[in-house]
Every structure is written in C-alpha cells, then in structure tokens.
C-alpha cells in the first residue's frame, strides 16, 4: 500500500470515534507537554544566567586573607593593591577593607540595630575595577567624611544622596548610591568610605581585606595563579583567590538539577499515555473484527492489517505528541517572558519529543496490531 493509502486507512478508526481518539491521545499530550516545558524552562533560566555572565564578564578575581598556619585570621599587606596592579594582564586593581565602625541613620538609634550594613574603606579605583555604575568619590571627596552606599545598604538605611548618617563617632554625608553589583553582592550591603578618609576619621590601619582584580578574560587563570605570590610575597599560602563569576556559572550548570525529577514525572505520564493508547487499540481491534475480515476478503495481507493498526496507533500518539509539544512550548514562552528570561528551547527537545512520541506509538501499537493481523478472515462472513 502507498503511504497515502496507509495514512487513510490508519485514520479510519480515529474518524469513526474522534472523541475516543482525543481522550487516548491526552495522556501522551500531558507527558510531552510536561517534558518540553521542563526542558524549556530550565533552558530559558540557564540562558538568562549565561546572558548575565556575558554582560558581567568573567575577568574579575578577588583576593582575601585566609588563615595563618597557626589558625589565626591572616591579613593582606598594605601594598597588595599596588602589587596586583603590576601583573601584566591586569586591567585594574582595587581594594576594600572591613572597618570596626558602624553606621546608623541617626545618632539616636541603639547600637544593636545596625541593619546589616557594614562599613568599608574603598580605594579610588573600586568602581572602575568592578565595572559598576552609580555615585562615586572624587579624589577630593574621598578625603572627607563622606559615604557612598551600596544598593541594599541604601534601602536598609532608608538614606539617599545628601542625607547625613552617623558613622563611628561623627556625621558623614551620603554622596549617593551605587547600582547593584551582581558579582560583588558584599558591596551592595556596604557603606563605603574613601581610603584616606577612613584612615583620618575612623582609625583605619591601611590593610585591605579584599583585593579586587580585573584581568583579561583569557588570562584569568594565569593571573589567579600568580596573585598569591604577588599580593603577599611573604605568605602566599595565607591568601585565597576566587572568581565571583564561578558562582553564577555554577548556578547555570545546576539549573538542570530539579529538572531531572520533573522530567521523570513527564516520562511517567508518557508511559501511562502509551498504556492508554495500547488499551484503546486493543478495544478497537475487538470492535472492528468484521472490518478486518472484510479487508482480508478484499485482499489485504496480514502485513497490510498490521500496518493499518500500527499507523492508527502512531497517528494517535502523534496527535498527542504534537498537542503536547505546542502546549509545552506555550508554557515555556509564558514562564520565560513572565520572568524576563529569553524563551529558549534547544532543537533537541522537540526532536526528542517527536522521537519519544513515535517510540510510544509503535510500542503501544505492536501488540494490538499483531492481534488484528492474526484474526481469521472468516469473521467478516459470520453474522454480527
């Protein structure tokens, strides 16, 4: 039989009982829709993280003091920033230093209500090095009692540019607020004081607690390797080098973790859908014994009959598969747009859905089709 004829006879059963066909295709549709949506949503959120990574860059490194061999908190030398700046592929280096001082919205707030904002000294080039935007010190204002607030810190304090805040033992003027820094969330939660001002007004000793280094992305690993020796030549083992973008990359990689469980659920739905189709097909074969007998009398071979019912089973699951694919793509798009992700569905997902559908259709159809092919043709002649 030609493929066209095969499709036509394969659709005979579906046309005769359309509502049954729709119901038995529903299981497949749900299974495929679940799997496609799960894959699509996780791909979209991954795409969003990768997009963030691309825009933030992967060239930023941080150096922090680790512990001394005796288990005490180590510190970085005062020269750390200058030394880091000497490394060839380093485009910028800056530092912050954690200060003892606390910050309050007014001098009347009791000390325990600090609001989770830390006070840090910042070198002039910090904003450049982090490639951040927002308010910043000029070389002049960095000498005066002024602060720049991180995005979160400003929120917690309820302060903005021009306000006065109580830092340590005196009033400081808020210069302005920084935009959020996804790769340095610790800065978001800080109130920054200029390096010279910190020394003058807050008793700062000049030892940085975090050095930020911006390296050429291609040379990041090389720079990271030489940083401990460069920054702290006497005790390179007491420094820790990290790459903040690694955390984002790890989240992108982990975006598939929950996916596997949900994917499994979709697989179960698909399996149940397949059993539903097999069941429908067995019933259909029983009901259509006389049609089968008639076709045999008209000259159909056993293979013709088997192919007819296999085609019917395939059409049923393809119906469900296509509906599921469309539904899954719709859910993916809706979810991604709702979260501001770029809607992403890798080509392998629809291809996999089609393959799964065909596999289920064939598998579900094998047994009913074999039963139909084995039926004796004489049933057509017997009374109904």
């Amino acid at each position: 039989m030609s493929p066209r004829d095969l499709l036509r006879v394969g659709a005979v059963g579906l046309r005769a009982r359309p509502s049954r066909a729709l119901l038995s295709a529903l299981g497949i549709a749900i299974g495929i829709a679940t799997m496609v949506a799960v894959i699509g949503i996780s791909a979209s959120s991954r795409a969003d993280l990768i997009r963030q990574l691309d825009s933030l860059g992967t060239g930023l490194l941080t150096v922090t003091p680790g512990q001394t061999v005796r288990g005490e908190q180590a510190s970085l030398p005062r020269t750390a920033v200058a030394m880091a700046g000497q490394i060839g592929p380093v485009r910028g280096a800056a530092a912050t230093a954690q200060l003892e001082a606390r910050i309050y919205r007014s001098d009347l707030i009791p000390p325990e209500r600090t609001g989770g904002v830390s006070v840090q000294a910042a070198t002039q080039r910090l904003l450049d090095t982090l490639q951040g935007t927002g308010a910043w010190f000029s070389p002049a204002t960095s000498r005066y009692p002024t602060v720049v607030l991180g995005a979160v810190a400003a929120q917690r304090l309820g302060a903005r540019g021009g306000d006065q805040v109580w830092v340590g033992e005196r009033w400081f003027t808020v210069l302005g607020v920084l935009d959020p820094l996804p790769l340095a969330p610790e800065i978001d939660r800080s109130a920054l004081v200029g390096w010279p001002a910190a020394a003058e007004h807050l008793g700062f000793d000049g030892h940085p607690t975090t050095v930020y280094v911006r390296a050429d992305p291609e040379s990041v690993t090389d720079v990271a390797a030489v940083l401990p020796r460069t920054v702290n030549p006497e005790h390179p083992e007491e420094t820790t080098v990290a790459r903040p973008s690694d955390a984002l990359a790890a989240r992108a990689a982990a975006a598939g973790a929950l996916t596997n469980l949900l994917l499994g659920l979709g697989g179960v739905a698909l399996l149940v859908g397949g059993v539903g189709i097999a069941n429908t097909m067995v019933v259909s074969v029983l009901e259509r014994r006389r049609e089968i007998g008639l076709r045999r009398a008209l000259g159909a071979t056993r293979t013709d009959i088997r192919l007819q019912f296999l085609t019917e089973s395939l059409l049923l699951s393809a119906l469900g598969g296509l509906a599921g694919l469309a539904l899954g793509a719709l859910v993916t798009t809706g979810y991604a747009l709702g979260h501001g992700f770029p809607p992403t569905l890798d080509a392998w997902a629809p291809a996999g859905a089609v393959a799964a559908t065909l596999l289920v259709g064939v598998t579900a159809g094998i047994y009913p089709a074999a039963r139909a092919a084995r039926l004796s043709p004489t049933v057509a002649l017997s009374a109904p």
Binding site: V9, A297, L298, G299, A300, D304, P377, T378, L381
Partner: protein, 243 residues
C-alpha cells in the same frame, strides 16, 4: 420473506469473459473435509468443480456446511484435508501474501450484511474494492464509478450508506465485489436481509455483472433461477441439478 419471490424468469446473459488463468476450472474441490477446532465436522468429503462462467446456487438447511464451503472457495480458510484449487492454484501451498493477492484480483465477495464503511460515499466504498490490488487512487475511483453504473447506481455515487435503501446498499456491495473484475464471485445469502423485490433486483444484478457466480441461498425460488444447483446436507453434497 422468501418463497414468494418471482424474479425475472430469464436473467440477462452474463458477460462472457476469459477465465483468469488458462482453460481449467475456476474452482475445484477434491475430497475436501473441514473439521473446526471444537470437533465439528462441517464438511465431510466434498468434490466440486466450477467452470468459468458458470452460475451455481448452493442450497441446504442451516448448519449443512454452505458457508464453510464458501470460505474455502474464497481462500478465507483452509481445508482440513483434500485439496482446493482456485484458478489452478492449490490454496494450501500459497503463503498469506499470495492468498491475499488471489482474493484481491480473482475473487469477489458479497455478504449477507453489506459491510459498507459508514460515513463514506458509495463511490469510495466501491473504490476500496481495489485498495489492495495496487491500483492507483484515480484509477480506483474511475473504475468504481463504472461499477456503480453497472449495478444501476450511477445516480448515487456521492450517497453515504445510511442514505441508501437496503437493496441499494447491497448493490453497492456487489459493485465493490466486481470492481476488480474477479473471475469468481461468491455471495453468502446476499438477499437474506432484503425484501423480496430488492432481493430479486440484487440477484438480477449479480447475474448480470459476475463472470463465474456461486450464491448460497435459502430461497428455493431464487435458486431455481440459476442454471446449476448444488444441495448440501450434513457436510456433503447430496444432490446436483443443472437446467
């Protein structure tokens, strides 16, 4: 519903056609028995030879083995012993594919229940008679229209089965059986579900369009119209008449 039928006394002459293969008999049964799995001996040694262009009525009481005989003639079932030859082929030696090809090209069936596909036009129902004979779709429909014309239904091509009377439905089934010009047309109680007038019309059409015709019937008057009559009882042929 039978017994009062008086179809046209002289059916129109059937078209003369060359038998499918050679000059031998269209069908030949020799020493055929058929025992069903339950142990029922439906045929107990049947010898029967049907020549090309014959028209044979098979009569006999219910359960005498008429339908079983027709199944064997139509290669829908195989004998328990003895040989069945259709167009020269020993059916027991043919694989399913060849048997199916024989049914597709050489044998046509008409059943008591018309077995038309509901919701499908008369034309497409008849065209399905060529579906398994490797005929291209356009050719199938062209020949289906001709076959419907031959059974007097040229004006009913687009009608669906439920829009047709019982007699018309059976004529559609006859058209489907003969659209492939089979050498042998087998009909099992083709008028059993029809009133006498429609039954007579179907019989007239069957005689007109078939090459070689074997009809099972309960209806003695109907059988009397055909030139040859075979009477069965308890799985045996007990009487043969030719007129």
């Amino acid at each position: 519903m039978s017994g009062t039928v008086h179809p046209d006394p002289a059916p129109p002459p059937r078209p003369r056609r060359l038998p499918a293969l050679g000059d031998g008999p269209v069908a030949e049964l020799a020493g055929v028995t058929k025992t069903y799995p339950g142990g029922v001996e439906a045929l107990r040694g049947v010898d029967l030879r049907i020549e090309a262009d014959e028209a044979v009525a098979v009569v006999g009481p219910s359960g005498s083995g008429k339908s079983t005989l027709l199944h064997l003639l139509g290669t829908l079932d195989l004998p328990s012993s003895g040989t069945v030859r259709i167009a020269g082929h020993d059916v027991a030696r043919l694989p399913d594919r060849r048997l199916a090809a024989l049914r597709a090209t050489t044998i046509g069936f008409v059943f008591q229940h018309f077995h038309l596909t509901p919701g499908t036009s008369a034309l497409d129902n008849v065209a399905d008679g060529l579906l398994y004979a490797k005929t291209p779709p356009d050719e199938r429909r062209r020949r289906a229209a001709l076959a419907l014309e031959r059974v007097g239904l040229a004006h009913r091509l687009g009608h669906r089965p439920h829009q047709l009377s019982g007699g018309e439905q059976q004529r559609v089934a006859v058209a489907r059986a003969v659209v492939g010009e089979p050498a042998l047309l087998l009909a099992d109680e083709p008028t059993g579900n029809l009133d006498s007038a429609s039954g007579a019309e179907v019989l007239r059409v069957l005689s007109a369009v078939a090459a070689t015709l074997v009809i099972i019937t309960h209806d003695a008057d109907l059988a009397a119209v055909l030139p040859r009559r075979v009477r069965m009882r308890d799985g045996r042929i007990v009487e043969e008449e030719t007129s």
